[in-house]
């Protein structure tokens, strides 16, 4: 049969953002594919060269609205490294706690999205409803539902509000029960499993070479998590387990993310136990950064995020380069899709948790 190219995107229910997955099909089988990105390119890296260091924090939030705290966090860590600032202990714990809450929120958004991708609106409604609880927590912490503008160079903007620990524990208790319900709803459902098991196979060797990071890498059986292997903030003092799976397929990616949500709950509980009850949460940073370069990397909900900063002694960065996990994972999608059926594309790509804001920058 004659082969032909099909555009899945830029406007397509599968894409979750504005991008184009061109697939070459022979009948229903994908023989080749090419991701086309750039529709959301805002020139982020050029824009920040004309902003002062604190002005970039809300812009870093907007790299990905689904996990905005982690992006402003990695930006602040990079600038602190260049300015040689030591963050107060309590601020470190608050940051790590916000990271984990953000991870749960981001994974719930992903769960809602694959629910509709795989044809089940119940999962979408359940996950969106539970995500709202975490957004409420963030609202009480910093006043915003999504783009928080909460991390600061040298700490965080404000301390946790009154009754924060009580509200957080209530939410976590409730959410743990809900996670068991998800397991029953999805793991035990034959329909879901048929659309996930055995699809989008990627061996550990290929995944490492393609630069894939985060839950997708750990679903290929690679034991690598920056929180564990290159710890930042207080992660080396916390007691937690890395979540990996050996199946290397779409099902494994789903399981790793579900396990990570449970693990994040455990981490937040551990943080609440070990966090100093009071203390400073912020130090005053200098206005200008010294001449030099700095990097910081962290485990974003989607993978490894890294920023490379060049300072030239003024109050504006000379160059700020961003490594977005999804940017690299998308470049490897042709390897994931080859040989699959075209009906499996939403399942395979949905499991990557695509976010175009950080990919196109």
């Amino acid at each position: 049969m004659a082969e032909m190219w099909i555009n899945m995107g830029p406007q397509h229910p599968m894409t979750h953002g504005l991008w184009n997955m061109r697939v070459k099909v022979d009948g229903e089988t994908i023989v080749d594919s090419e991701p086309v990105i750039g529709y959301l390119h805002r020139g982020w890296e050029k824009m920040v060269e004309n902003r002062t260091y604190p002005q970039i924090i809300p812009m870093a939030d907007r790299l990905c609205y689904g996990s905005s705290f982690t992006w402003s966090h990695v930006y602040c860590m990079t600038v602190e490294k260049l300015m040689d600032i030591e963050v107060p202990e309590r601020a470190k714990y608050i940051r790590a706690m916000s990271d984990e809450l953000q991870r749960i929120g981001s994974h719930l958004m992903w769960l809602a999205a694959i629910g509709t991708d795989l044809g089940n609106l119940t999962v979408f409604l359940y996950a969106t409803r539970d995500r709202e609880l975490f957004l409420d927590l963030f609202t009480s912490l910093c006043g915003a539902r999504m783009t928080y503008n909460y991390c600061r160079i040298g700490g965080v903007r404000n301390d946790a509000p009154e009754n924060w620990v009580r509200d957080l524990e209530r939410t976590l208790d409730y959410f743990e029960k809900r996670l068991k319900e998800y397991d029953m709803l999805i793991d035990k459902s034959k329909l879901f499993r048929m659309r996930m098991e055995g699809l989008g196979y990627m061996s550990a060797k290929d995944a490492i070479n393609a630069g894939i990071t985060g839950p997708v890498l750990r679903a290929s059986g690679v034991k690598y998590d920056i929180r564990h292997n290159d710890p930042y903030e207080v992660y080396d003092e916390l007691d937690w387990q890395m979540c990996t799976h050996d199946a290397c397929d779409t099902w494994a990616r789903y399981r790793v993310r579900m396990m990570e949500m449970q693990e994040s709950v455990n981490i937040v509980r551990d943080i609440l136990k070990k966090m100093p009850k009071s203390g400073p949460i912020r130090v005053k940073p200098p206005r200008a950064a010294p001449v030099g370069t700095a990097i910081a990397r962290m485990e974003d909900p989607r993978g490894e995020s890294l920023m490379y900063l060049v300072g030239d002694g003024t109050d504006k960065p000379y160059r700020l380069s961003v490594r977005s996990p999804l940017f690299v994972i998308l470049s490897a999608t042709p390897q994931l899709l080859k040989g699959s059926k075209i009906a499996d594309v939403p399942s395979i790509l949905g499991m990557l948790d695509v976010c175009m804001g950080e990919t196109d920058r």
Binding site: K46, D230, I295, V328, L330
Partner: protein, 153 residues
């Protein structure tokens, strides 16, 4: 790759043994960070050594910097076994920004090099598909260069 872990000092010694011209920034060296500057003629062989013999299996980031009098490409490369992230800075002359591609070694560098070409016009020799990535294909300029001003603010 068998599971052999190296300390930062061991990596440093092995690299300087094979490539005596590589300059290390010892003052900034940390337990999991290593900084070095290399000439562009040895970049590919240096990366090959890092990948094949020292277990640096993951290319985190390739970025370009326009220093006005010269271009730089900066490579951040990670070892999953040794938990080290190292930085290689390579200087390129402004009138001839050409450097060997590392995509044949690490597939993860593919789009980073395409993006660097897209934004700075740096040519990566040996790249399998060096064309514009984020910007439209008929763009005439390279926007991240310092002589290309943003306007407005």
């Amino acid at each position: 790759m068998e599971n052999v872990t190296y300390s930062v000092e061991q990596v440093r010694d092995k690299v300087s043994q094979a490539f005596p011209d590589v300059v290390f920034d010892d003052a900034r060296m940390e337990a999991r960070r290593l900084y070095m500057t290399a000439d562009r003629s040895i970049l590919f062989n240096l990366c090959k050594l890092l990948k094949d013999e020292l277990g640096f299996c993951h290319c985190s980031l390739v970025s370009g910097v326009d220093r006005c009098d010269k271009f730089q490409t900066v490579y951040h490369i990670t070892s999953y076994e040794s938990n080290i992230t190292l930085e290689i800075v390579v200087d390129l002359p402004h009138d001839e920004p050409v450097v060997d591609s590392v995509t044949p070694l690490w597939g993860g560098a593919n789009w980073h090099e395409r993006e660097t070409y897209d934004m700075f016009g740096i040519i990566f020799k040996g790249h399998p598909n060096l064309k514009r990535l984020l910007l439209p294909e008929d763009y005439k300029f390279f926007p991240m260069r310092k002589d290309c001003s943003e306007g407005g603010l």
